[in-house]
């Protein structure tokens, strides 16, 4: 069984927010809910100042803090390493949101559901379709799922995630500069393992010991 992971090249990233938007469209997220974010900061002083651009998403940790915090077992690590939420088991206690060191979880409540992209002008056709096609359960916690429905459907068709578009997460597909690489961490010959080895991939907040599956190279 593979263990899915991602490598993000922060040197390539131009902070176009393509991943943020592609993710919102893929999962029909309401305003204010982001599975993919791009953090932008500055370091140094003029004239040697430079910008830090970090696209962040759920790290799909091997030893996830959210899984340990979940009292009902709703959050679990799938066989392929994806941290998923079973919304039938989730009671909305939000312990995982406190436990997650990366702040990648959002509580889906009435407020989030009733938000409109164009306030006071009703929901757009897209939002209405989204509620039918990709419904979130009220009172549960939602987060990035590495586009697991894309991966699962693609694998059934015999496609390889990371190589074929239809089986790869939306944020990886959309990246115009190819800063994101998706692949199998367990396969020593995979593209992402090569990148991690050659460019010394770093995990965010390694000191928490959660073993994230998202690596950053520069």
């Amino acid at each position: 069984m593979p263990r899915w992971g991602m490598v993000i090249d922060v040197k390539r990233c131009i902070a176009c927010w393509g991943c943020t938007i592609a993710c919102k469209e893929e999962h029909f997220l309401p305003p204010g809910v982001f599975f993919n974010r791009v953090l932008i900061g500055e370091t140094g002083k003029f004239p040697t100042s430079s910008k830090l651009i970090y696209p962040i998403l759920c790290n799909h940790c091997e030893d996830a803090a959210c899984v340990e915090a979940c009292p009902t077992g709703a959050t679990y690590v799938r066989e392929d390493g994806i941290v998923a939420i079973d919304d039938t088991k989730c009671v909305g206690c939000r312990a995982c949101m406190i436990a997650c060191p990366y702040q990648q979880r959002t509580y889906y409540d009435e407020k989030a559901k009733n938000q409109e992209y164009f306030p006071g002008q009703g929901k757009t056709e897209m939002e209405i379709i989204g509620e039918k096609l990709y419904p979130f359960t009220l009172g549960t916690v939602i987060k990035c799922n590495f586009c697991s429905e894309r991966i699962d459907d693609g694998m059934k068709k015999g496609l390889t995630p990371g190589k074929d578009e239809d089986a790869t997460p939306a944020c990886v597909n959309i990246c115009p500069v190819g800063a994101r690489v998706f692949g199998d961490l367990d396969d020593p010959n995979s593209e992402i393992n090569r990148l991690i080895m050659e460019k010394k991939g770093k995990q965010l907040r390694k000191e928490f010991g959660t073993e994230p599956a998202v690596y950053y190279i520069d």
Partner: protein, 258 residues
């Protein structure tokens, strides 16, 4: 969190080109129940980002379609009074009515002097040939010698107001500061990998000129704030990514943490 397909009778991908800037990258649109819900790049196209890439601006172009404030019919100004704070009292009219108003007024001007007509156009996708059309159809109006042209974007997407204002202020499509004359160039909207993004399509040359200036002891000051609301794909145009920038005026970016 899984797809539900109970009430879905159509779910397909339609190939097209992205129309949010004039790069015209290959794009495909996911249509569910006749409603476009997602835009993605096409891997096999030569125009576009790496792989199936498409920039944030292109992807966010979806919201132009879904915007409830999108103007779908001609609007007629009914208040002859003009000025700041004066309501123009826009009225929605039918296309037939609009054609009639335009043609009667145009005929009157053409009988007088066709060179009185000012031609302008919008930024459209590259395949539409935005820069060439006005010159061709100006001939049809009987324009002699040099007509009056503003080749500037007046549309909602790429380069929103900057081309239009560039045209009005210095008669050019590009927005290029006079680097040969000025001592200091203050740039707003500077990005780490997007140097000189305000310099228009002249970007590569301008960057070179800036660098030359720098050697002379001049300064190009950068301000590390991303300029919100003004979207443009400067580096994209030159670097060949076909990648636009700054779709942050799109509703999908609302409440993005800073």
């Amino acid at each position: 969190m899984t797809y539900k397909t109970d009430e879905i009778w159509e779910d397909k991908w339609v190939n097209t080109t992205c129309g949010v800037c004039y790069c015209g990258c290959g794009a495909k649109v996911r249509v569910v129940n006749g409603v476009p819900v997602k835009i993605e790049g096409i891997k096999e196209t030569t125009m576009g980002g790496t792989g199936a890439g498409l920039c944030g601006k292109g992807v966010a172009g979806l919201m132009y379609y879904h915007d409830p404030n999108r103007i779908k019919k001609p609007m007629l100004r009914t208040n002859p009074e003009k000025g700041i704070g004066v309501d123009p009292k826009w009225k929605e009219i039918e296309w037939e009515e609009a054609y009639e108003i335009i043609s009667t007024k145009m005929k009157k001007i053409m009988e007088d002097d066709p060179n009185k007509i000012l031609f302008t156009n919008q930024t459209m996708r590259a395949s539409d040939g935005p820069h060439n059309h006005p010159y061709f159809y100006a001939q049809a109006f009987g324009v002699k010698n040099n007509g009056n042209f503003i080749i500037g974007g007046g549309s909602l997407h790429c380069g929103n107001a900057c081309h239009m204002l560039g045209g009005l202020i210095h008669g050019a499509w590009s927005i290029a500061p006079g680097l040969a004359v000025h001592q200091v160039c203050a740039e707003m909207g500077f990005q780490q990998r997007y140097r000189f993004r305000t310099l228009g399509h002249d970007q590569c040359k301008a960057a070179g000129r800036c660098r030359a200036k720098r050697h002379q002891g001049d300064r190009v000051r950068s301000h590390g704030q991303f300029c919100r609301g003004q979207g443009h794909g400067m580096a994209g145009h030159s670097a060949g990514y076909g990648c636009g920038r700054g779709a942050c005026h799109c509703q999908l970016y609302r409440e993005h943490p800073r």
